[in-house]
Symmetry: C2
Subunit: 210 residues, 2 copies
Amino acid sequence: MIRRAALPRAETSLPAIGTVQHYAPQQTILAEGEPALHVMLIIHGMVRSCSSFADGRRFIGAFYGAGDLFGLERNQIGAAAKEAVCETSIVLYPAADWSDAVHAPDDLSRQIFRSMVTRCEQARCHARLLARLHAVERVAAFLIECHLRSAMPSRVTLEMPRQDIADYLGLTVETVSRCLAQLKRQELISLRSARELDLLNISALRAISG
Amino acid sequence: MIRRAALPRAETSLPAIGTVQHYAPQQTILAEGEPALHVMLIIHGMVRSCSSFADGRRFIGAFYGAGDLFGLERNQIGAAAKEAVCETSIVLYPAADWSDAVHAPDDLSRQIFRSMVTRCEQARCHARLLARLHAVERVAAFLIECHLRSAMPSRVTLEMPRQDIADYLGLTVETVSRCLAQLKRQELISLRSARELDLLNISALRAISG
DNA sequence: CGTCTAGTTGAGCCCTGTCAATAGTAGTGG
DNA sequence: CCACTACTATTGACAGGGCTCAACTAGACG
């Protein structure tokens, strides 16, 4: 199912020259180690970048949402797999020659560079969280992060299951669940359902998350 | 103390157009949050990129060694501090206009982009380690990482104190020390002194480090 | 030799992981 | 509508890995 791309969001300055691809929940977009043949832009939905260990441990390096570019780390050995978290549509930009993005069309090149800087910063921030924050602090930080993506003022919808959150935060599902329960007891959040919650005290959450 | 730069290492294609700066151990090159006015290239020595929490917790996001570029994340809020780990010399490239590096001279631009991709990959790898590896595994991974920088076939010199290693690996000095002792007991390493050790079984270390 | 810092080692505790049971939630079919 | 299944999430009991606190050791330097 391939057709012309509509321009996804105001924040991206990319032209609608790519082709659109749809993915069902849990579907693999790019297997682990497989080189990216395209730069990909998410129209809607969510993608996780995850890598596994020989013994089954799993790590999620990032979640990408609508408007995010990914597939930038072309030709990297040991590149992380990219999987759709939920129903997801992305635009594929053929990237035959941008491995030095310096020579891509000027707009795309600049956008890629900016994304790359952002990725770096996010990865360091993620590492900082994993290195020095306690479980509750990590969960609070994650909620704040989700809130930044969210359009609603204090409502957050978690697109991913607890296992994904755990693998992103370097915890177990049980600990994630317990931390959410703790934040609820402290009346910093309230759970409408397992996947939907309200942030009752955002500044307190921000303070906890370091 | 400023003078013309000598070309640092074969692996960098940058011309010697910058000025050289020397730093003593522990000296701050760039304070936390301070914007980088230069792209910096290390000639010799070692630099740590570290950030602190309000309560004193510290995190080291990366160590940079000879031949590494840093100061790429210009104008970022909350940028990490850059400090000399030991006696260090760096070349400063004035970077007045490369905040979109796309418009820097072609060589520098490409080099910066390549460095950025590498930084991203390293940061994700670091996060993966912090999220899912046990203490001994982290220490083993760190030794392997140091070994890659090292010129010697199985000798590793640790330029940084235990506290820096701990803050890089998300552990405490005591745990780092205990893990080194454990690896020694398993005869995977031997300690010539606190800062200098031999890797006796590199493939086993690599296996441990995931 | 004394002092200072860095590193190691030990004892005890706590946070988080593990294992197991329970409770929701969605889907399917009678 | 309920029954049944399958899956996801929550909660509890317990154990263990890593942190805290403290003592000790090893170098470096005057």
